[in-house]
């Protein structure tokens, strides 16, 4: 962190995306860690598995992200001891919101997306701002490439976005294969035009059989 005066944060760049399906959830984030015009590492995971069916991806200040992940993991462990079961995705969503708002006056500089399966084994995606305001949606993107990606997702995922009323079930009719194909294409496109996105994209697919991980190469320039 180059402390200029008392500016405590740094933006490490990167993009994350999540799409919820009828019985799956796709979460993806690139693996580039950068600052200014330099690359720190090409191999940094911005995704964290919080529970069996709950995964979080974030962009922003990775120092704060590491602290947030540790915080949530500790709270989840306590929950497991007290309730003898894993936290469900909607429960974890509320926990994350409370954890973020707890630091309302010195925020975690992270822009989070939570993805997983809810208690009915349907895909769910929760999107957050830096201080804990959250909403369940059909798809979301955050980070330096989000501005390039969200218009494409709006166009392709005929699923309801918050703009369409009355609010319908927040999942897309696409199959799992098609959603993963869309995520790969959308990352390749964002990489072309955003200097902070690139190197590799880590794609996680959560469904009834567990969590499957895939790494795809992106442009390294």
């Amino acid at each position: 962190m180059a402390l200029r005066g008392n500016w405590m944060y740094e933006n490490n760049g990167g993009t994350c995306v999540a799409i919820a399906g009828a019985d799956y959830c796709v979460i993806a984030a690139d693996t580039r860690l950068s600052v200014g015009y330099s690359i720190y590492t090409r191999d940094y995971s911005k995704i964290c598995k919080l529970a069996d069916k709950c995964v979080m991806a974030s962009s922003g200040f990775q120092g704060d992200l590491k602290a947030l992940q540790k915080n949530l993991a500790a709270k989840h462990l306590i929950y497991q001891h007290q309730h003898n079961k894993q936290m469900s995705c909607p429960a974890m969503a509320q926990l994350l919101s409370n954890t973020l708002y707890y630091k309302r006056f010195f925020p975690y500089y992270t822009f989070n997306i939570l993805g997983g399966l809810d208690s009915d084994e349907k895909g769910c995606v929760f999107t957050y701002d830096a201080v804990g305001s959250y909403e369940r949606v059909g798809y979301s993107a955050h980070g330096t490439g989000a501005g390039l990606i969200i218009p494409v997702l709006d166009n392709q995922l005929k699923s309801p976005s918050p703009l369409l009323l009355p609010a319908k079930d927040a999942v897309t009719p696409l199959s799992e294969m098609e959603a993963v194909d869309l995520v790969k294409d959308v990352f390749a496109s964002a990489t072309e035009r955003d200097i902070y996105t690139g190197d590799k994209v880590e794609i996680l697919v959560i469904n009834a059989s567990g969590i499957r991980q895939e790494l795809m190469e992106l442009r390294k320039d």
Partner: protein, 278 residues
Amino acid sequence: MGYMCWSSEIAYSGGMARFAADVPTRGGFSFDLCQRNEMLLKKGNQLPTFRKTGTTIVGLVFEDGVILGADTRATEGPIVADKNCEKIHYMAPNIYCCGAGTAADTEAVTDMVSSQLQLHRYATGRESRVVTALTLLKSHLFSYQGHVSAALVLGGVDITGPHLHTVYPHGSTDTLPFATMGSGSLAAMAIFESKFREGLTRDEGIKLVSEAICSGIFNDLGSGSNVDVCVITRGQTEYLRNHQLPNPRTYVSSRGYNFLKGHTGKTGEPYIPPNPRR
């Protein structure tokens, strides 16, 4: 503009500058709006940003002449504005110039000096010399006191031999056997400092220049896409546009995208074609 024109006979009381309508403009920048811009900034209005090239450009002298290299990415802040722009500019048949900094400034200044060189060739009946281009560039940039944000690597071969120079936005120059400029200059210079030696052959020189540009492309976020190379020797210039393309797109969707009729919402108002008889 808000300024009124006063005739030169009326003295403006208050002792401030006289606005004389019949004095011709002296060229250069007019700083009249600076006060108003500062006022707007205080009110919260943001100045528009320029497109910078965020670049890696290099040059080196080899046994038969000069080799120039450049990447091809133009950025507007964090966004890539042009994935394949040309940063090696023509100055004369035997002189080329790489440009880093504000794209409009590098284009304008190299085009201007290129024209001046051509007129000079017609007047003298001789091939242009690199030092001529150098002097024209540096005096122009100095007179604009660094406001013309162009950082250049100028190279060429003339009757006195091969020459390589760097020109900075404020107007200073260096004469060097190898040079790098732009945001990726450190990455490229690291390669040059470890591998450069005097008297490289043409192939060795091209390979070294490509390596230096690639170092900038992969390690600097302001540089990217492809490698352009320009080889200048006595009597011949080769412009190798896109000499290397080390960054192909990694994924193309096999599904493709379908935009069906009715995809875009309509308001329902009828379309009335314009009257052709008008």
